[in-house]
Symmetry: C2
Subunit: 206 residues, 2 copies
Amino acid sequence: MRNNESKKCTKQKIFEVSAKLFSREGYNGVSMRKIAKEVGIKESSIYNHYKNKEEILTSLFDYWNDTLTIYRPSEEDIEKMLDYMSVEDVFKQLVIGFGKSLNSTLDSIAKIIYIEQFRNEKARKLMLENLIGESSRFIESVLKIMSRKKIIRAVDMNLIADEYNYTLLALSFEYAHAVNDGEDAAPVIKKMFRHISFICEYLKPI
Amino acid sequence: MRNNESKKCTKQKIFEVSAKLFSREGYNGVSMRKIAKEVGIKESSIYNHYKNKEEILTSLFDYWNDTLTIYRPSEEDIEKMLDYMSVEDVFKQLVIGFGKSLNSTLDSIAKIIYIEQFRNEKARKLMLENLIGESSRFIESVLKIMSRKKIIRAVDMNLIADEYNYTLLALSFEYAHAVNDGEDAAPVIKKMFRHISFICEYLKPI
DNA sequence: GTCTATAGCTAGATAGAC
DNA sequence: GTCTATCTAGCTATAGAC
């Protein structure tokens, strides 16, 4: 029992420390020694938990993929939200809920995806398929629900989903920088909300 | 003379090879040996042209900064363009002109900025100040000219400049991936133009 | 300005004691 | 499961011959 707990604890520590270090220095900028030192063990001990360095990175990406898929609200959830919330508040809630679902490890992993997207195949896939593709399709499905309920006017939903999504993606880079540099992230959040207001103004029925 | 020419040529080769390799593997993923091998010289010879590895990276960022500042059309240029072009065509021309100004080395440097923005201070500055800040202010100044000429309706120009710019920035990431993977970049260009059409539709005088 | 040779260091990974 | 010790390979950078 104690064995299992301490095993889990050390592996978890390696996991979180790696996320933090990779997000600051990039995968190739962090050595197994640095990770071991920060965890408080010898580098050779890492190999009892992970096969090699690459497997640590892969486990980070897998965690991101699993967690973020679970978070996204279902179509039923959206329907319910629209019963008592405005279009604008639903979109704002999606951003707030997404932000709240991110612990500091997930924040770090997001940055690792940004950094490694041109070098690592898994990171590239997460960027293009998850952060761009799936997100856009999700927003398009939300727009379809709103259209069915006739609370937004007729628009090119694929286009508006892209407009909504790409700007938020770029702003999430700016957000990562603010958090990174220990600056106030409020101005970026404000920009996100201003963007949502702009889209909702466009969507308003005439 | 011949000395000068060959010197310039080797230095230029180091410059271009480094841009290519850094953009693929990241700064920390490329060794001086790899660069030397690809150039066709010994690694020690690099130090006759650059003080160290960091100076190669810095020179790449300086080149980006100098070139892109020179490219951006002046307010007078914009005024002239508007004499015989529509609002939409001016914006499309800005994207096309920007694209044409990029040789393959500048394409690579853009990717290096994306990769290194969270690790390298110069890259971070270029991302936040040049690609986000300056670009947005430039578009805002273009919108002001259009507004003065009364060819667009009254809007929050700071907001629209951000809407215009952030989506294009995110799409430029997708563009970099397409070029990177040897895929067809046309669908991304099409998305850029669709975005511009959307913004111009919004700007149309009533 | 390029070369050979090498210093001096750090990397990822493994063997075997406890 | 963690440790010490160590291997091999790779790294940046320099010295000095040509």
